[in-house]
């Protein structure tokens, strides 16, 4: 076992380090290609921040007024999440109020499990949105930004996206709600797998596996539609 000095053979050492870094980068690129980790380097919430937030949650569990900092922190994120699924400002505002009200009412039973608090809020928001559409029997809104489609087509390894674009809407429409949600979170909202997993309450590897299964399914539907056109 050797303690590698860093400065006495600085030039050599830096060289070695550079060499190692390049190896690491190669590995990373392979992973990117293989697992679609293109955007997953974005860190969400650090372990320290989560721990620290847990103390705030405990304070709010004993005094609802102490929920204010959590509300202030996550209001915008939750609002945008619901808005993308409703595209109606007033309806969104009502649903978001319900989300936070339910969060406060259920906070007593919340326990820290190493997952960001926001994930729990997103889960409540997702349920509230689903409940709204069940009640009203309307079609759920799915918002897509053009520029977010590229990463999805990249993952499908489709060189020519043009024919697929024309059948995309009809193909997405054939997906089950749960399948569409995972595509929505991962590609339309560009969330890292970790966050997708936290929101859906599954493991990160499960989120990856499910994403690629849904992508495969979507690709098959799209190919079928392209051929039939």
């Amino acid at each position: 076992m050797v303690l590698f000095p860093f400065n006495d053979t600085q030039v050599t050492r830096w060289g070695l380090l550079t060499q190692r870094m390049s190896i690491n980068l190669q590995i990373s690129r392979t992973l990117v290609k293989k697992e679609g980790l293109m955007n997953s380097f974005r860190r969400t919430v650090s372990a320290e921040a989560m721990q620290s937030e847990w103390t705030e949650i405990q304070a709010a569990q004993s005094d609802p007024a102490m929920f204010r900092p959590l509300y202030n922190r996550y209001f915008e994120q939750i609002f945008n999440f619901v808005y993308k699924r409703t595209l109606n400002e007033e309806l969104c505002s009502d649903i978001v109020s319900q989300v936070f009200l339910k969060a406060m009412q259920r906070l007593e039973s919340y326990t820290f499990q190493g997952v960001p608090f926001s994930a729990w809020l997103f889960r409540i928001a997702s349920n509230e949105v689903a409940q709204h559409y069940r009640k009203t029997q309307k079609n759920r809104v799915v918002s897509i930004e053009d520029y977010n489609l590229n990463s999805m087509f990249d993952e499908m390894e489709t060189d020519d996206m043009a024919p697929f674009r024309s059948v995309l809407v009809n193909s997405l429409d054939e997906l089950r709600e749960g399948d569409l949600e995972i595509i929505e979170l991962r590609f339309f909202e560009q969330r890292p797998f970790k966050e997708v997993a936290d929101i859906l309450g599954i493991t990160e590897s499960n989120a990856k596996v499910r994403t690629y299964r849904v992508l495969e399914r979507l690709k098959k539907i799209m190919l079928k539609k392209v051929k039939s056109e």
Binding site: M1, V2, L3, F4, P5, F6, N7, Q10, L17, R20, M21, N24, R43, S46, A47, E48, A49, Q51, S52, E53, T55, E56, A59, S62, D63, P64, A65, M66, F67, R68, P69, Y71, N72, F75, E76, F79, N80, Y83, K84, L87, E89, C92, V96, S97, F100, L101, M104, E108, S109, K138, N139, R140, V141, V142, I144, E145, D146, V169, D173, E174
Partner: protein, 592 residues
């Protein structure tokens, strides 16, 4: 074909402002009802019923109170007064020709300094304490402008309101001294740097009973001109100045007053202990977020080495050690290259480590604190324990620094949120403590009065004497700072009219009332049907400024003439025919 989803491309995005329009935590809190689906533990249910019972009792008391003491006309007058003062400047100096005078101190910003005011008060100014409007640091010399206000004439002339609205109740602030402080450079105002403050030692006098040898509890408030209210800052660290003691306490064991005095002191001590316990509980109710640790950049001019995490890993680790290892593993996974350096108190030189322990047979690591680890190196039969720090280099350091800056901003934001949330509780506690102290004092005074009625001679307790004190506090900004305590309005309410000696009514005018046992001034609207609270047993003085800039007064002896059970009174104001040119003229009239 029936669609399942409403898919929309590139929908309109909402701006932050549009989102924020819907943000209202207070409204949410009002809607909040605890979940009823779950059976609560017995102690919580009991707590609920106790709170409910207390609330019901409070409501009943409120009903009794409103039924006997409050009526629509009081509300009307309160509204009328509120409307009147809303249209007036918040700081409403009554006499344009009597200007405040400020002391000036020249400060070299590179040196700071300690400056003494004629009263004996001190200002301790740190170095680099000032910034320009754009946030850039001020260099060179700055002039600090400072003035003190000590008595009701000062407060009156300043036009600064001495009322404090808290939770819908309007209190009058009894002051132990007030200051105004600001700084200028070349005639332009400058700000106090965000992380700087000026320590103030304000020498003043407070009203108190001669029997007491502990100062009453005062707080520090800063005037927020925008919000038109005082904002609580901290507890006033008040100390009595011993040489100024005017009356010796009777410590004769045979004195019946001694027991009362001791009882009072014990009560004060108990209040203080309870205050400290409650403050601790308040602090604990909202735990401090964990402060991020700033990464250390590798000093390549010194000995830097790397350690393979596989060598550091102890597969048998459990408990705290396993947690530390998990943290370490996360550090290693976050950065391309984790590096290490000897800490300042490593206990070994770089050369000794490099030459003596280049090859080792075993390594173990243990966390000592956020920055320091203890590394145990094993070489043959030699074992060495050294303290090391994790360090980063190049892009790793940049990434860590960026993470730190983000986490620090997050930490600061949450600390701010914490302070804001706790302040509400602290304010409530301060009010509660002030009320407890007031009641303790009241009890003490009543007992002394009872002794007097039985023939004991405690003449000294009848007087309120002035005791010299030093108020210590930290001014974290320029403006008006006040050492004071809120006192609730006196319960005696008269419906009042104000007339001149010639019978003309004074209406729609600002008038002032002073209870000379309290170091404050109460500003109110002179109007037909005004509701006036005052203490019949005190020395009261009421005045207003006439249209020709003279002072019209209603003197303490006139107050004695108000019938004991009177519900209304016409205050005939005596106009003092003295031209008011300066502060001295005001004092001559009001201190007659």
């Amino acid at each position: 074909m029936k669609k399942n989803y409403d898919i929309r491309f590139n929908p309109k995005r909402l701006s932050k402002e549009e989102v924020d329009r819907h943000k209202d935590f207070d409204a949410l809190l009002r809607q909040y009802r605890p979940s009823s689906g779950k059976v609560k533990p017995l102690y919580r249910r009991m707590a609920f019923w106790m709170v409910a019972a207390a609330a019901a009792a409070a409501l009943a008391l409120l009903v009794v109170y409103t039924g006997t003491n409050f009526n629509a006309s009081e509300n009307d007058y309160a509204q009328q007064m509120s409307d009147y003062f809303t249209t007036r400047p918040f700081i409403d100096a009554p006499l344009d020709n009597v200007k405040p005078t400020f002391a000036s101190y020249e400060v070299d910003v590179n040196q700071g300094g300690v400056f003494e005011y004629p009263s004996g008060s001190k200002l301790i100014v740190p170095v680099a304490a000032f910034t320009h409007e754009d946030g850039s640091p001020v260099t060179g010399e700055v002039t600090i402008k400072y003035r003190e206000m000590h008595d009701f004439v000062d407060f009156f002339l300043s036009g600064i309101p001495m009322t404090y609205d808290s939770a819908g109740v309007r209190y009058t602030l009894e002051s132990a001294g007030m200051i105004e402080i600001f700084a200028e450079q070349d005639g332009q105002k400058v700000n106090m740097a965000p992380d700087k403050s000026i320590d103030v030692e304000l020498v003043s006098h407070v009203n108190m009973s001669p029997q007491l040898n502990v100062p009453p509890g005062y707080n520090i408030y800063k005037l927020d001109e925008e919000k038109r209210n005082w904002v609580y800052q901290n507890v006033d660290k008040m100390e009595m100045v011993d040489e100024d003691r005017l009356v010796d306490l009777n410590t004769d064991d045979n004195s019946p007053g001694l027991i009362i005095k001791k009882d009072y002191e014990e009560k004060l001590q108990a209040i203080q202990v309870s205050e400290e316990a409650e403050l601790t509980a308040i602090e604990a109710s909202y735990p401090k977020p964990k402060k991020p640790v700033k990464p250390t950049q590798a000093d390549v001019s010194d000995y830097v080495f790397d350690l393979d995490f596989d060598d550091l890993k102890n597969p048998n680790a459990s408990g705290e050690l396993a947690k530390e290892q998990a943290e370490l593993a996360e550090m290693y996974s976050q950065y391309e290259k984790m590096l290490w350096q000897l800490s300042a108190d490593a206990g070994i030189t770089s050369e000794e480590l490099r030459d003596g322990f280049k090859n080792v047979s075993d390594i173990a690591i243990k966390k000592l604190d956020n920055r320091t680890y203890e590394l145990t190196l094993q070489k043959a039969d030699q074992s060495l324990k050294i303290k090391v720090n994790p360090v980063l280099s190049g892009s790793d350091y940049e990434k860590a620094l960026a993470d730190f800056n983000r986490d620090m901003a997050y930490f600061n934001e949450r600390m701010q949120e914490r302070e804001t949330a706790l302040q509400v509780k602290k304010d409530a506690l301060n009010e509660k403590i002030a009320e407890e102290k007031r009641l303790a004092l009241l009890d003490f005074e009543e007992k002394i009065a009872e002794l007097q009625s039985k023939g004991h001679n405690y003449a000294a307790t009848e007087e309120i004497i002035k005791r010299k004190v030093v108020n210590r506090f930290t001014a974290r900004g320029f403006g008006i700072w006040n050492c004071d305590r809120p006192i609730p309005p006196d319960m005696l309410i008269l419906t009042a009219n104000f007339k001149s000696e010639s019978g003309n009514s004074f209406t729609n005018k600002t008038a002032y009332l002073v209870d000379k046992s309290r170091n404050t001034v109460y500003r109110f609207l002179a109007e037909d049907g005004a509701k006036l609270n005052f203490n019949r047993n005190s020395q009261n003085l009421l005045w207003l400024i006439t249209d020709d800039n003279k002072i019209a007064v209603f003197r303490p002896e006139d107050f004695k003439g108000i019938e004991k059970d009177a519900k209304t009174h016409e205050f005939v104001m005596q106009k003092i025919d003295k031209e008011i040119k300066e502060e001295k003229d005001v004092r001559d009239v009001l201190y007659l």
